[in-house]
């Protein structure tokens, strides 16, 4: 039986699945139901000076008929009285002592931070998460991503929190920066025990094309919001991996952004996350998705021979490299399995119009032919093919030793490149 329990910067939880700080962690009743469903931890909805929210607050991105494939919100931090939050945190922690109770905080002054860190810990927080990420509403007031975008401010506030706290401190980073690494390093310098990322991405989800008003519509207007949900996973994975492979960083990571199931979670863990947090998928489908997440992860660990989560964390990180380190002499060509092919020729259109014009219709059959002398192995056909494993990218034996761009530039004699393909020179 694999052990699903995990430790994120000293915050322990029976499984790596946490609810992110967001509407699902807004109240004791919700969090208690989440724990009953099996969630290993939660980050409580960000506490701060209570605010006012607008109506409506959420926008959905429909992609190919999938509602909420992307999601955005213009909601702010908690709008409930702080007293009620602390009372419910204490009550929930009492009922579920084995789960990770992380409290998210966003305040302005040093004194406020001191007071509310103490109250959170009194209420039973196992850890704190500093919300330096919210891209709307709060940053205009000098909080949220306004902090996360400024490494010096990030470091200063983090150091206050670490100074006041007796429990581990995670810094939640905003993705609304060009390079995440300096911001992770700032949190580290401030003394954080780990980071959480990503918060939402600055976005405008859509426009009501009949009313000429952006969405989500608040009366006759809207504003930019935070993008999240399945669509943001690739951005989140990249940011997580960028920190995980940074030699000077070295802090535990709680991975967030577009996690919808155990597969996504495994990817985040392999790229360096010790736990993962979920918001949108739970908002769309409810707490019960965690049953399959636990099941699926357990089965994955069993079949891959992992006994504990720590064995998986960061396993794919060494294989995440700079472009200049990739082997330019590794060559693949597309192969079509004629027995599986259904003859849709979607690959023909894709290759002709969007790639290298090397998949051609043939006389007498709907199965297309790959001109391997022209195929650059770009993968487009395999991506569009509706039949699983019908197109494979087969390595080509050409006898030229591996060579990266960096190696080639440094020493072209010892690291020659294979002949170029598909440039139609």
């Amino acid at each position: 039986m694999p052990d699903l329990s995990t430790d994120t910067g000293g915050i322990r939880s029976p499984n790596p699945f946490w609810l992110a700080s967001a509407p699902p962690t807004n109240s004791g009743g919700q969090v208690q139901r989440a724990f009953e469903a099996g969630w290993g931890g939660v980050v409580w909805k960000t506490l701060g000076t209570p605010i006012r929210n607008v109506s409506s607050r959420f926008g959905g991105h429909v992609i190919g008929g999938v509602r909420g494939a992307g999601f955005n919100n213009i909601e702010l931090i908690t709008d409930r009285p702080l007293e009620a939050n602390y009372r419910e945190i204490a009550e929930t922690k009492r009922l579920f002592p084995d789960r990770a109770m992380v409290v998210s905080l966003m305040f302005e002054t040093r004194e406020e931070w001191r007071e509310h860190i103490a109250r959170s810990i009194d209420a039973g927080a196992d850890g704190l998460e500093l919300n330096f990420g919210c891209p709307h509403g709060m940053c205009e007031r000098g909080m949220g991503s306004a902090v996360g975008q400024e490494p010096a401010v990030n470091e200063r506030i983090t150091s206050w929190a670490v100074e006041f706290s007796t429990v581990p401190v995670l810094v939640k980073l905003t993705p609304n920066v060009s390079d995440i690494v300096p911001h992770g390093l700032a949190a580290r310098r401030g003394g954080a025990h780990g980071v959480s990322l990503i918060n939402t991405i600055k976005s405008l989800i859509g426009v009501d094309i009949d009313r000429f008003v952006p969405e989500p519509r608040v009366g006759g207007a809207s504003t930019n919001g935070g993008y999240c949900g399945a669509a943001v996973k690739p951005i989140a994975l990249h940011m997580v991996a960028a920190l995980a492979r940074e030699p000077e960083f070295g802090l535990p990571i709680s991975g967030i952004g577009g996690v919808t199931n155990w597969r996504d979670a495994v990817e985040f863990i392999l790229l360096g996350s010790s736990s993962v947090q979920v918001c949108t998928e739970v908002m769309l489908r409810g707490f019960d998705i965690v049953e399959d997440m636990i099941d699926g992860l357990d089965e994955y660990m069993r079949t891959h021979g992992f006994a504990r989560i720590s064995e998986m964390v960061g396993k794919a990180v060494p294989n995440f490299r700079e472009w200049g380190e990739l082997d330019l002499n590794y060559e693949t060509v597309a192969k079509i399995d004629a027995d599986k092919c259904i003859g849709c020729q979607v690959c023909v259109a894709a290759c002709h119009d969007g790639a290298h014009q090397c998949i051609h219709p043939q006389e007498g059959t709907r199965v297309p032919r790959v001109d391997e002398t022209e195929c650059v192995g770009c993968n487009l056909c395999k991506i569009v093919c509706p039949v699983e494993d019908c197109i494979s990218m087969a390595p080509v034996e050409h006898g030229v030793a591996p060579a990266s761009w960096n190696e080639f530039v440094a020493d072209p004699e010892t690291h020659p490149l294979r002949p170029k393909k598909g440039s139609h020179g």
């Binding site: 003859g343 849709c344 020729q345 979607v346 259109a349 709907r366």
Partner: protein
């Protein structure tokens, strides 16, 4: 131009066999389409509708454009969406048949878009600038309607001569009511005629009131779309007994008038084609408890579609295979059908006679051919009762073109539309002085 259709006609007993898609259902189904390149479904549609394109437009909420794509290739696209045997046409060739997933419901999606066009009153086409040319169309079925509409878009004046009191041919009077009822076909005809400039002369049988040479003299081109003729009889004793009916005549009566089924408990349908299966399903649907199809071959050899027969079986159809009637018996009204079994080579087996009780006999063994009416016109070949045409519908004599059942021997509405449209394009080219059959050449 469609004649008012009686509210109390028998066919109103039927509802839709294939239900319309709800809007959300249509979008979900449309999203599944792979947007195939050189799509095989298009090749399987006789009118070559750009199926992936019209489906994509449904997926994006562009129903107006979707219906335009359909009508551009098939002006009777609303009917075809309902009456096409899609299982052996477009849907039968959808690539999903090679995956373990159901093929795209192309017909139902087509219905979704075209029904919306009708509901919204969208029209897309206007007549071309007047060419000063006149085209006569003999017969007012799908072939001639499609041809006339295309010709009007090219600016040629059209006159349709139709023997019956109303237009539409078998699309109005023949197709099974659970696919489409006559009033729906009539709505479509009005919609097609709305392009203007199509003169309709119903109740005029060419060859009687108007002669072929009149047409040749008075018009710049003639399109022959006469379809098929009356139901063929078996030529056995008792054919004049009451309630021994030709299949298409009975269906026509059921669709636009009333059939009297008082006291009819048992029906025998003779034949094994699609008209026979339609009769079986219609008789069952009208409440006749026991309906037997008597066919001279076995199930594997019947020309009716397997999917249609399966539906008939599910509705309670019975069959006598390798059986052929030798006499209808009764006094005044038919009471029984004497049959004999046939062997593999379809020869009667001596001593194998048997009787089927029947209060109604529907004879669906084929329709006569009308092409013989053209026999006197030099240059026009009639082969096996069908008008011979080239790949463009030209019939071999200056000015003369043909299409539909009278050319293909009896296929589907969609074939008639395709052949009418094809001939119209050839007529237009000819009238512009470019091509075969030109009186100016």
């Amino acid at each position: 131009m469609s004649r008012p259709i009686s509210e109390s006609r028998s066919e109103t007993a039927f509802g839709d066999f294939k239900l319309p898609l709800a809007p959300g259902e249509a979008v979900a189904e449309a999203e599944r389409c792979l947007f195939c390149h050189d799509a095989p479904c298009i090749a399987a549609c006789p009118t070559a509708i750009d199926i992936p394109q019209f489906i994509r437009k449904i997926a994006t909420g562009n129903l107006h454009g979707s219906a335009r794509t359909i009508f551009e290739s098939n002006i009777l696209g609303m009917s075809c969406a309902r009456v096409c045997p899609v299982e052996v046409l477009c849907v039968g060739d959808c690539v999903y048949n090679h995956l373990d997933q159901p093929p795209i419901a192309i017909g139902r999606l087509q219905r979704h878009a075209t029904d919306e066009a009708f509901a919204q009153g969208w029209t897309y086409f206007s007549a071309g600038p007047d060419s000063g040319r006149r085209v006569a169309l003999i017969g007012g079925g799908p072939a001639s309607l499609a041809a006339a509409h295309r010709l009007r878009r090219c600016g040629h004046a059209c006159t349709i001569f139709e023997a019956r009191p109303s237009l539409g041919g078998l699309n109005t009077t023949g197709v099974a009511p659970y696919k489409m009822r006559a009033d729906r076909a009539a709505d479509e005809i009005d919609w097609v005629l709305a392009i203007g400039g199509i003169e309709v002369r119903t109740g005029v049988r060419v060859g009687e009131a108007v002669s072929l040479s009149d047409l040749e003299r008075d018009f710049d081109a003639v399109f022959v779309g006469v379809g098929l003729g009356a139901d063929s009889p078996l030529g056995i004793p008792g054919e004049d007994l009451e309630n021994v009916c030709g299949a298409t005549a009975w269906i026509e009566q059921m669709k636009i008038g009333r059939v009297d089924l008082a006291g009819v408990e048992r029906a025998v349908v003779v034949g094994g084609g699609n008209t026979a299966i339609d009769c079986v399903r219609e008789a069952l649907g009208l409440g006749i408890p026991r309906v037997i199809m008597a066919y001279r071959g076995d199930r594997a050899r019947m020309s009716g579609y397997a999917h249609e027969w399966d539906a008939a079986l599910a509705e309670g159809a019975l069959a006598e295979w390798r059986a052929i009637p030798i006499a209808y018996e009764g006094s005044g009204r038919v009471r029984k059908v004497r049959c004999i079994r046939l062997d593999e080579a379809r020869r009667p087996i001596a001593g194998s006679e048997f009787e089927l009780e029947a209060d109604l006999v529907l004879v669906a063994i084929g329709q006569s051919k009308l092409a013989a009416m053209l026999a006197g016109l030099e240059g026009i070949q009639v082969e096996g009762g069908r008008v011979a045409v080239d790949a463009e519908g030209f019939a071999g004599r200056t000015k003369w073109y043909a299409g539909g059942d009278c050319v293909n021997g009896g296929k589907e509405v969609v074939n008639a539309v395709a052949e009418g449209d094809r001939a119209a394009k050839a007529i237009d080219a000819m009238l512009r002085g470019a091509a075969k059959g030109s009186p100016h050449a």
